[in-house]
């Protein structure tokens, strides 16, 4: 029993990370019908930005070692950096091709993804580097053997807080209303006087910031970052978005959590039914294909009329 609970905690934990990244995919897709392939790499950029910041403040502000202040600065700083990168990508790569076909935009997205990855590999090398630990990690015994660590609690708390914040932005602010209008109908919202370009840029910024938060949080939990860390995680997060119903915000969260738990359960109990734990990465893709075939609109998505 305690093993099962433990696996659940582990799964929800990774799931929360997937969810944070999936939100970015889902928002961008909702507005532009674009799979932002580079989004997983933004998650990586966020982690690297956090890494740089952590060393910077340790050297210049004397906030060495583990402290909540340092963690906050690193988290917020990484989010801002990633938001800027996201905006730049939108402005310089995606906007010029927006008028072309979907295939063109998709290839551009692949290009941006490769560009970011290879730039970081060339600049920093492909090997992983240790992320400085900004909090004194310790483990709390729950019952039996089940335990939860401080970094895991941090992931839950921060991701829930960010999701609530996002919900508030989208439903309670003017810019959120505009975002919803744009995702509903881009051209009409333009006619209504909404600066659609600005809204799209803002959406990219928001999604990128969330991914960066995920990057820093993961790095606290499993302290190694490398330029290619965003590839698999990004793809899985995309699957999470599709599972929940792409374009649907609560759906992305649900999808993320489900994928995280499913993956961990395969590692934990797959062997009992003849599935090796190394099939873990196949889980997300199998789910993806099932969803696409059985319910392309996802769990929470409304049935979208395919283009006629």
């Amino acid at each position: 029993m305690d093993t099962f609970v433990q696996q659940l905690i582990n799964g929800l934990n990774i799931g929360a990370i997937y969810a944070l990244i999936a939100l970015g995919y889902t928002m961008v897709y909702g507005i532009l019908r674009l799979i932002n392939f580079a989004h997983g790499d933004i998650y990586m950029v966020g982690a690297f930005a956090g890494y740089g910041l952590a060393y910077f403040i340790a050297a210049n502000l004397g906030l060495a070692g583990a402290s909540w202040g340092a963690l906050l600065i690193v988290l917020v700083g990484a989010m801002i950096t990633a938001a800027l990168v996201g905006m730049a990508i939108e402005r310089f790569a995606y906007r010029p091709v927006r008028k072309y076909s979907r295939m063109t935009t998709l290839i551009t997205a692949i290009g941006v993804s490769l560009l970011i990855e290879n730039l970081f590999v060339a600049r920093y090398g492909g090997m992983g580097r240790g992320f400085p630990q900004l909090l004194n990690d310790r483990t709390y015994q729950l019952f039996g053997n089940a335990a939860i660590s401080k970094s895991q609690i941090l992931i839950f708390v921060v991701s829930i807080a960010l999701m609530l914040l996002l919900q508030w932005i989208i439903y309670k602010t003017r810019v959120g209303t505009a975002m919803r209008a744009v995702s509903f109908n881009l051209n009409s919202s333009k006619l209504m006087g909404i600066n659609t370009d600005a809204i799209i840029t803002f959406t990219f910024a928001l999604g990128s910031a969330l991914a960066a938060a995920a990057g820093v949080l993961t790095a606290q939990y499993s302290p190694t970052i490398d330029p290619l860390m965003g590839i698999t995680t990004g793809l899985k997060a995309f699957v999470a978005a599709v599972l929940g119903g792409i374009g649907n915000i609560p759906g992305a969260v649900l999808g993320g959590l489900l994928i995280g738990v499913a993956e961990t359960m395969v590692v934990g109990y797959g062997a009992n039914v003849g599935i090796a734990s190394t099939y873990r990465d196949a889980v997300a893709f199998a789910i993806l294909i099932l969803v696409l075939l059985l319910r392309p609109s996802g769990l929470l998505g409304s049935t979208v009329q395919e283009k006629v």
Binding site: R129, P223, T224, M229, T233, S277
Partner: protein, 436 residues
């Protein structure tokens, strides 16, 4: 029609223009500076290994050259990056062998890459010495492939013995890297050794390289309640595994192999690594004057970086090669090969090296404890009991036997490599016939 011919002619001309006269093999010594090819992962996932190898070889070569070279001939290193990918390793060795015409090869660290690259060296009859690939299959590729480190059967057994005898462990769990020959080899021999000593393997879990989250596997291992956990992976993942082990409240120490040995390990795992043990080729803290002198020279050359085992082995590999070239009186491929095979009691940094009939080095291993960002020497385990079942080679008679019958002593898989080549050649001719 005419243009077809022109087009084809152009392609052919282009190819021929880049062509060169075929020489009858590169076997005889061309004289002049001795070109030695070095390949490794200089920019990929395990680039710490490649960099250490490069540094170790560079230092040895510089020392040899400063002392007047080998029989008055200088060593010229040609260093290539394979990004840690088996396919690239094969390509890079092709280039070193055929384009740069190196006389000998030093590399790789990861066994998978060495195995991928070795056939090219074997085919071209360029002796290759792997400094630190420990999987037995590496030297089985052919009689031109050597190594200066011990092999996995021995390393796995060392840890099994240490766990059972010194740590008095009864229940061991295993967490291995399913992507590497190295890791798979080690767990096999650890399991054999540990169960032979009365222990029990209570859980076995796998992960893939580049994984970030190991809590699923570790939770299952925790529920099996082991005394020790054997994790013979590479430092990249091990650091995170150590951290997550502690996060889950697991008290059992982790045991590992030489794949852990990298200065980067501490960045990744930090204090979570305290109390873990690894088997390794040598210890930086070993008080022996030879080793301390080497450490001092290395630190002076490379900005105070301490040499890890990979660097020390790379240094030894270059030195063994230099010694063999001297004994062979040049770089004639056959003579050089035989000279390397006859290496006996060569006093290296990582111990006394003798090459046995399987072209593996026979030498002791050390067990180190990880303590506050340092590898602390625990004990040395001699090879007399090692070797395992796969290499029952009588060490004393090794050298003469090796030179007398290199082909006869090769294992089945070794002799099959040339066979494959011949059949490739036949297919070549066969396809021609079919086409005409």
């Amino acid at each position: 029609m005419r243009r077809t011919l022109i087009a084809l002619g152009l392609i052919a001309a282009l190819l021929m223009a880049t062509g060169c006269a075929r020489r009858g093999g590169n076997c005889p010594d061309p004289g002049g500076a001795i070109k030695v090819g070095v390949y490794g992962d200089l920019s990929g996932q395990t680039s710490s290994f490649g960099q250490s190898t490069k540094n170790g070889v560079q230092m040895a070569a510089d020392e040899i050259n400063a002392a007047g070279g080998i029989n008055g001939r200088q060593i010229q290193l040609v260093i290539e990056d394979d990004q840690g990918e088996p396919g690239k390793a094969a390509t890079v060795v092709q280039k070193l062998v055929n384009q740069d015409q190196v006389r000998a090869l030093l590399g790789e660290v990861a066994s998978s890459n060495s195995i991928a690259a070795a056939p090219a060296a074997q085919e071209a009859k360029v002796p290759m010495i792997s400094p630190s690939s420990t999987n037995p299959k590496v030297t089985q590729v052919g009689d031109y492939i050597f190594r200066v480190c011990f092999i996995d059967p021995f390393q796995g057994e060392v840890m099994a013995k240490f766990a059972a005898n010194t740590l008095k462990a009864k229940r061991a769990a295993i967490l291995f890297d399913s992507n590497s020959d190295y890791s798979k080899g080690l767990i096999q021999f650890f399991k054999q050794g540990f169960t032979k000593l009365g222990g029990e393997i209570v859980a076995e879990q796998a992960y893939a390289q580049r994984d970030r989250d190991f809590t699923g596997q570790l939770t299952q291992i925790r529920s099996a309640n082991p005394d020790v956990i054997y994790v013979p992976g590479y430092y990249q993942e091990v650091g995170v595994i150590a951290k997550q082990t502690k996060q889950l409240g697991i008290k059992a120490p982790l045991l590992g192999g030489d794949g852990w040995d990298s200065p980067q390990l501490w960045d990744l795992g930090g204090d979570a690594l305290n109390g873990d043990y690894i088997s390794n080729h040598y210890s930086v803290d070993d008080p022996t004057p030879v080793i301390q002198d080497f450490v001092k020279r290395y630190k002076a050359k490379f900005n105070g970086t301490a040499p890890d085992a990979i660097a020390a082995l790379a240094y030894d590999a270059m030195m063994v090669l230099a010694d063999s070239i001297k004994r062979a009186g040049g770089t004639d491929c056959q003579k050089l090969r035989d000279a390397i095979a006859q290496t006996t009691n060569f006093k290296g940094i990582t111990g006394v090296i003798s090459i046995n009939s399987d072209r593996n080095a026979v030498k002791p291993a050390v067990v180190l404890e990880l303590e506050n960002h340092k590898f602390v020497y625990k004990e040395t385990i001699q090879p007399d009991t090692g070797g395992g079942t796969t290499s029952p080679s009588p060490e004393g008679s090794a050298s003469p036997a090796a030179s007398a019958s290199p082909a006869a002593s090769a294992q089945p898989s070794a002799s099959s490599s040339p066979t494959a080549n011949t059949s490739g050649g036949n297919a070549n001719a066969g396809a021609t016939n079919a086409n005409q």
